[in-house]
Point group: C2
Chain length 316, copies 2
């Protein structure tokens, strides 16, 4: 358990002893009677972005990472609250561009602005609380079972590699086109809303991969007291990531793919009995299974176990 | 209209064209079908507090200023989401103390923690989104009418003077006891939940005084296209503030009382026909009335109009 998890467990679990919080183990709280799920996420200057970043892109990302939590719950976007703190200098212009990006993605995702707060601050601080509607059920389970299959949506690793290129365009070998495509994936993630809905009643836990595949898997393994087994060859990769794996040190790149965050794909598990049903859903991949034990085992093509040092992103 | 209002009107009004937002003119959004009101507020290092401030006090204040918005809506506390960003150094200890303060006031106000987000940051950022329940109605009106009476709860000016003393203990003449009492009022505001409930169906607009009496009055005057008339002698003052008025330049202190924020008392209006009903409610004071015109007129004991230069707190 990393320090961020320790802080949450020690200081906030005891305060969240209520039905709605789902023990703080899901991507959102669940207000059963109101058929609402609610989640809150931040983006902070010099942690998640720099002041040079385009405010239009930041607005779209902030909205999308919050909506991604709705996708992980199997909810439909409803509305949001936006808190912005920023320096006085250039505030009008910055917010003008920010609101332009926000507006375009509000239309894309059919979500409404309900309220918020505006303040001055030496660094830019963005906080959003998002509400989603559910019909009957949502993904309110936060554990898995032995023998269940482990799945992800889309491709893994685009965003963490895009993040690396956004910091240092030359950090590894790749074509310019590949680098720009991955940076774009990092900047404008795609919330998996429709898949989240299709998975309702077919899966156990479901979460979005915000802090890296390894870290999300570790948390479910811990919560469920079981072991995750992942076949590296089964992890879905984009042609861009495949190109980078070929041109560079494979293990170094693999570590980034597994431990880097920001992919915002869904990670979920389902019992073997559901394989036929899940086969019908497009853009999902089975990458492993749970077994007795603890932690995560990664297996290479030849079935050999591989050890990776890092274990995902923790803020502390 | 100050710059903060200009930004909100220009960039966020157009995005909040929905029933729930109440045109961003109330203290919270109103989800009619769900019988919920929701509001979101921030507290930021070097804007609202310094890093030396006691985290226990900060937690209580953050919760209370958010709950104050529920009071202004006539709602009952339900739950909240908490986003914290803070420096890595000493994070465990800081959050330990913060959560202690939070816990004690969660019990006082019978409110639940539903979720949140934790991140690292060079300065402390606190953001809270609070949910309140309503039975049938809430204070969802954001304008007033000619001839309506203007009221406030409690006393005005304690917190803005307390804020001044917290920055500079010697900024004006007063006893040590008085200074400490006002600092305490600034640090631990009292959300007027029970009065907020009693006012349901008896008043027009209702807001909490977070950014100063003058600024809140200006906004209602603008929204309603009418003029606020305030009798300075009718503004309720604590014995501490009266002491300070006697010992110092009266006009200088009056400007702080009228323009300084953070009192978190309620400000509302009601038609003359309701005077009898309102007389039965304790701890409220009639301070003036609305008339044809615009802006705010302040009147002295002798009925003479007084001009004050500043007009409340704007972040921009």
């Amino acid at each position: 358990m990393d320090k961020e998890q320790q802080i949450i467990r020690k200081y906030f679990y005891p305060l969240a002893n209520n039905e709605e919080s789902l023990e703080l183990k899901n991507d959102a709280a669940f207000l059963k009677k109101n058929k609402l799920v609610i989640s809150s996420d931040m983006m902070i200057e010099d942690q998640h972005f720099t002041k040079d970043n385009d405010p239009e892109i930041l607005a779209r990302k902030l909205l999308r990472i919050n909506i991604s939590d709705l996708a992980a719950m199997g909810a439909t976007p409803y509305g949001f609250f936006l808190n912005i703190a920023l320096p006085k200098k250039d505030a009008m212009n910055w917010i003008g561009r920010f609101s332009k990006g926000l507006c375009s993605d509000m239309q894309n995702f059919e979500i409404k602005l309900f309220g918020g707060d505006l303040s001055q601050s030496s660094k830019i601080f963005l906080s959003m609380t998002v509400l989603g509607k559910i019909k009957k059920h949502c993904h309110d389970v936060n554990f898995s079972k032995i023998d269940s299959d482990i799945y992800v949506t889309g491709n893994i690793g685009d965003a963490p590699l895009g993040f690396k290129f956004s910091k240092n365009f030359y950090f590894s070998k790749a074509s310019k086109k590949t680098k720009n495509k991955l940076i774009n994936k990092f900047q404008i993630p795609e919330p998996r809303l429709s898949i989240g809905l299709k998975l309702l009643n077919k899966v156990e836990f479901c979460t979005d991969i915000s802090d890296g595949l390894s870290r999300e898997l570790s948390q479910v393994s811990n919560n469920s007291n079981i072991q995750a087994n992942i076949f590296l060859d089964s992890i879905p990769l984009s042609t861009e990531v495949k190109e980078i794996l070929k041109l560079n040190d494979r293990n170094k790149i693999l570590e980034i793919i597994l431990n880097g965050g920001e992919d915002y794909e869904l990670l979920f598990s389902s019992s073997r009995a559901n394989r036929k049903k899940l086969n019908k859903i497009k853009n999902i991949s089975k990458i492993g299974f749970f077994s007795k034990g603890k932690g995560i085992n990664y297996y290479n093509t030849d079935g050999k176990k591989i050890d990776f040092k890092k274990s995902g992103f923790s803020h502390f």
